[in-house]
């Protein structure tokens, strides 16, 4: 376990030095500046617009970092051959993989937390107060973070057996497909054969359900989010990440490096 932490710590340090987190300053400034503008042009719904805008921005920026950095986590180390010296240490390949995942997960957590702080600062500027009801925004931010973890795990899996470009495309494609899992499950497929119906049913459960993480509407309108959903999403993310990282570890452990 300690070896996983050594890799994770180095991944976080490398990410910080690589200026991944520097977008935060820009983002926070942008949020606060836009809060002033939104406050002036939105009658009564300035808070709703502000929260929707903020959560969307956190999600989008987080997704970009998760996909591009997630794919690069392993593929860059293979391409630049930094892995050769690392794997010469008493370190198993799965430990390296999990360490890289944990390092980026921490990076994303810090990133998301800082962006959330920017959002709350903007909210305070608009409302001149932060209430207990705004805690639902924190839950929405937490769900975004869980979603990003899953995206990183998928990006790492794809980068273990394909080129970085294809890995980005596969991860992006799977993310988009995962947004519509609920729709896929509710589709009326009576025209299809029983085999095809079964196939789509299986697919709808195999695909990562990214729709579950979207509570932006509830957060923007101050509606509460069920504790059960928080527990469900947390466990779902842990289980799905474990399966995806397990598959990545199996592939990576047998991979010939350059």
């Amino acid at each position: 376990m300690s070896r996983v932490l050594i890799v994770a710590r180095n991944t976080f340090r490398e990410a910080v030095r690589d200026r991944v987190l520097y977008n935060l300053v820009f983002f926070a400034l942008l949020m606060i500046a836009s809060a002033v503008v939104v406050g002036q042009i939105s009658m009564d719904i300035e808070t709703v617009v502000m929260i929707s805008l903020g959560l969307s921005a956190i999600s989008l920026i987080g997704l970009l970092i998760a996909v591009f950095t997630g794919v690069g986590l392993v593929s860059k180390e293979i391409d630049k051959r930094t892995l050769h010296a690392v794997l010469a240490k008493p370190l198993r390949r799965w430990e390296f993989l999990v360490g890289k995942f944990a390092g980026l997960a921490v990076t994303l957590a810090v990133n998301t937390a800082a962006m959330a702080a920017g959002l709350f600062a903007a909210l305070w500027l608009v409302k001149h107060s932060i209430t207990r009801g705004d805690a639902v925004v924190l839950v929405a931010v937490y769900f975004i973070l869980l979603k990003l973890m899953l995206v990183v795990a998928l990006a790492m899996l794809f980068s273990c057996f394909t080129s970085p470009l294809l890995a980005i495309l596969f991860t992006g494609g799977l993310y988009l497909a995962g947004l519509f899992v609920s729709e896929l499950r509710s589709l009326q497929l009576t025209n299809l054969t029983p085999q095809m119906q079964k196939f789509f049913a299986v697919i709808s459960y195999v695909l990562p359900n990214f729709g579950n993480y979207d509570v932006m509407g509830a957060a923007a309108h101050g509606r509460s989010i069920a504790a059960m959903l928080i527990l469900h999403n947390t466990l779902y993310t842990i289980l799905y990440c474990a399966i995806v990282l397990g598959a990545a570890a199996v592939i990576f452990s047998r991979k010939d490096l350059k």
Binding site: I6, N10, R17, R81, H84, A85, A88, K89, P90, L257
Partner: protein, 319 residues
């Protein structure tokens, strides 16, 4: 205690290639080799001969298609044995945004050293490889030679029993090469087992107890540099001066060549005294008689030159 530090048996590696990966290219073909403990062993071969493939197979960076390998008595798949192994990859590259000291500290953590011990070892290694003043500079600003030094430092940081160096002189200037040679000799004197690959023959002749010559993915010969070149007959070279207009005996004249102000002639040991007598009779002044010892270079060129045009890539005397 294992009898061999490194043992390979029929170790082979094929790479699929072609559009559908249906064709196979053999990088290493049935390598059977033993490296004894406390031995400096050189893997020689031209570029693409299979030296790096061998080392990557040993380090678990790639996996064999056939055969097996053991290091320090354990199969190479057992990474726990890496605690006792130091490895310098070919053209090493590290994390751009970390300093040399931070990278060494990172690697030292895997060996479980305390913070104080890590700090002491990192500083000692930076000094050893001549980077004590550059330890706090980010590696993206390092030259190739400086990265090579960092690579060497991380390979020996934890005082390993077995050190594997892939082209350790690569990218270094003459001073750097001398320093690396000194470090290898220091490790040798400390009783470490060293396996290193090189295409620079003078380094192998100077440092190795034994060498293995690889060409075309196959091991062509193993032995001490002296033994391996001893396959060839030795000869003698006579250097002499002779007055202008003097007549050389026909047997000498046919083989003599101009050398500076005088001439040189190569003869077999059995012909030495008769040749000297003939030269003296002709009024020549003998300057020196030298035994011509074939070098590893001669052996190497003969061995690989016949089979591969790539032998031209051999760097015979880079200095």
């Amino acid at each position: 205690m294992p009898s061999f530090a490194i043992e390979t048996e029929n170790l082979s590696k094929e790479y699929p290639h072609g559009f559908l990966h249906l064709k196979k290219k053999t990088s290493l073909d049935g390598l059977t080799l033993q490296v004894q403990e406390s031995e400096v062993f050189g893997l020689l071969g031209p570029n693409g001969a299979g030296k790096s493939t061998t080392i990557k197979l040993l380090m678990g960076i790639i996996f064999p298609t056939a055969g097996s390998a053991r290091m320090l008595g354990k199969p190479v798949s057992d990474v726990s044995m890496h605690s006792d192994i130091g490895y310098l990859p070919e053209q090493p590259y590290f994390y751009d945004y970390l300093t040399a000291a931070e990278v060494l500290d990172y690697f030292a953590r895997f060996h479980g050293f305390s913070a104080a011990e890590r700090g002491e070892r990192v500083q000692r290694m930076l000094k050893k490889v001549g980077l004590e003043t550059a330890g706090k500079i980010q590696l993206r600003k390092y030259s190739k030679g400086m990265l090579q030094r960092v690579g060497l430092a991380q390979a020996i940081l934890h005082d390993p029993k077995l050190v594997i160096l892939d082209e350790p002189m690569s990218g270094l200037d003459p001073v750097g090469r001398r320093e690396v040679r000194d470090i290898i000799l220091e490790l040798k004197n400390a009783g470490k087992t060293i396996l290193f690959s090189t295409h620079i023959l003078s380094d192998a002749e100077m440092l190795c107890d034994r060498v293995g010559v690889i060409a075309g993915g196959k091991l062509r010969g193993v032995g001490s540099p002296d033994t391996i070149v001893g396959v060839k007959a030795t000869g003698l070279e006579i250097l002499f001066e002779i007055a202008e207009g003097a007549v050389l005996p026909a047997s000498i004249k046919a083989k003599a060549a101009k050398s500076g102000a005088g001439y040189q002639v190569s003869v077999d040991e059995s012909e030495l005294y008769s040749a000297i007598d003939e030269l003296r009779a002709a009024g020549a002044r003998i300057i020196s008689v030298t035994q011509v010892k074939p070098t590893l270079e001669d052996f190497f060129m003969e061995l690989v030159g016949k089979e591969s045009s790539r032998a031209a890539a051999i760097e015979v005397n880079p200095q």
